[in-house]
Symmetry: D2
């Protein structure tokens, strides 16, 4: 069976979405790329500054509430259905709940051929890249660098600390069946 | 049964995505907002300048090929599944194929409670707003103003030519069951 | 003498930058378009959330401090020099200080042929367009709609409440010498 | 005398604007950051696809014409005036003309204390980062990697190929008088 979903998990500013774009460029078939950022974008403005939705604290902390979780669960189901309907999808996410987050995806993607990829980046380096980007709440990168990998099981891991995103993408692509 | 999907169809620069944001603001429940632009964004760069994918001609013409159609069909299926899993969704699309485009959505959304909304804007006014936006291929607005409504059947229609998006959104919201 | 600078003053979401893009499209000569937003963008991130720089309150209030004022003064001087060196410039600004803001520009642009344009929009309509845009602090539009025009003297005024930006731009262009 | 202008020159996707943001974060005084991209943004849309203005070929080649040159010269004069009026400025540019481009800046900035910084990045790595960004014409990075440094004289050079932007910025900041 050939790979149908690539899940990239990593902290903020670890390089996930850049790797996703590189994967789209190097993989021979067309892959869609979606991410947790696109889910947040699709939500009402009121949910983006609410404890019931998603809340970005000034120190970089991120907390999500029940309304966010409900929409996220429906979104995951929709992604699985898109894949079952024939599209290949690269998902990039930030597993704020570590193993529990992975378990939610595992249930949603049940029966699909998934490649689980950890995208690591040393906290200090990710923090510098957060400054480079200039559009992120400072502190998110450092805060998330370790916790998002806690208890998560991967098929493959890349580390962008000293390796270019395109090189990481080529290594991931070599694991795509 | 209560409305589960609002489909906004209109030409480029007719005001669909602005109306979608207003709907999110005025409707009491949280609604996700997705659109054809987000599908295009999620595609590989190579498909965005290809006859097999989607091609934007310098004169504002847009043509789509078989690879685009295949991914679009899977995406529609995914949206329907997201709704069945409990999320309310506002979809904005450009029915380049008129009635045929609506038929594709009708099949994908089968069994769901859909509010079909036509978003009209006189070609000349849409053309001016295209200049205001500054990030669209000139000519798309005029080209699409009429053809996207050809043969399409609506539950409700709004016209942004002389009515603000927020006012249009309130009128649509009043039709949401 | 021919017009060298067009200053557009209006509250947030009144349509200034859209009018500027339309002016660039309808005027026969090439005009540069710069605005207070581009000055803010060029500042260090730390000044964008600081009482010494510029501070956007959650209720839509905007306050600026001494470091912002110093950089703004230098920026105004630079714009005047750019014009004296031969470029035509459209400036869009939000005169938070009303007549005092205009006086600062008057001194900076001394000796140049300036067309002062007021861009009005009824507060309630501007507030709706703020929702349409989706990327502004809610409340800025209503807060600024009136105060920015207080004591300001114009050569010409437009009102985007019921007139398209392109139509406003054409009327302004007809006043350009 | 203390440094008043930092000029960063490098090819597309070499990391200039990221280094500029890091410099703003690490330097103790507030510095404005402007670049050739902001000049292009401020031009009329018609000049961005015209041989008289600036033209981006599908293969990554960039050519500029007389109208672009005239506006650019006025813009350089304006930046110098902004600095003379008291603002510190980081400029990022792409010296398509190599030494001739530097000479234009040298004349505009005459009498000011300038730190000339070369931002290098191996063509192949810059090309990969161009894919990561996803919003640049493919080919620009490789095309420009070497030619922009031809005959240019620097006070200091950084290479982002294997060094993070923040680390490069700290090294540059140490040279700021």
């Amino acid at each position: 069976m050939s790979t149908q979903v690539i899940v990239l998990n990593g902290g903020s500013s670890s390089g996930k979405s850049g790797i996703a774009r590189c994967l789209q460029a190097v993989l021979p078939e067309p892959w869609l790329s979606v991410g947790i950022d696109s889910l947040v974008d699709s939500m009402p403005a009121s949910l983006k500054t609410s404890p019931a939705g998603i809340d970005f604290a000034p120190d970089g902390g991120v907390s999500v509430g029940p309304r966010f979780r409900a929409l996220e669960a429906a979104w995951m189901t929709g992604i699985a259905a898109t894949v079952r309907a024939g599209a290949r999808i690269i998902v990039d996410d930030v597993f704020l709940g570590g193993a529990a987050s992975q378990e939610r995806w595992r249930q949603a993607l049940d029966g699909l051929d998934v490649l689980w990829v950890g995208v690591r980046c040393e906290g200090e380096v990710a923090e510098g890249r957060e400054i480079v980007r200039g559009d992120r709440v400072p502190g998110m990168a450092a805060e998330q660098a370790e916790i998002v990998h806690k208890g998560v099981v991967y098929d493959f891991e890349v580390d962008t600390t000293r390796t270019e995103s395109l090189v990481c993408a080529r290594a991931i692509a070599a694991r795509v069946a």
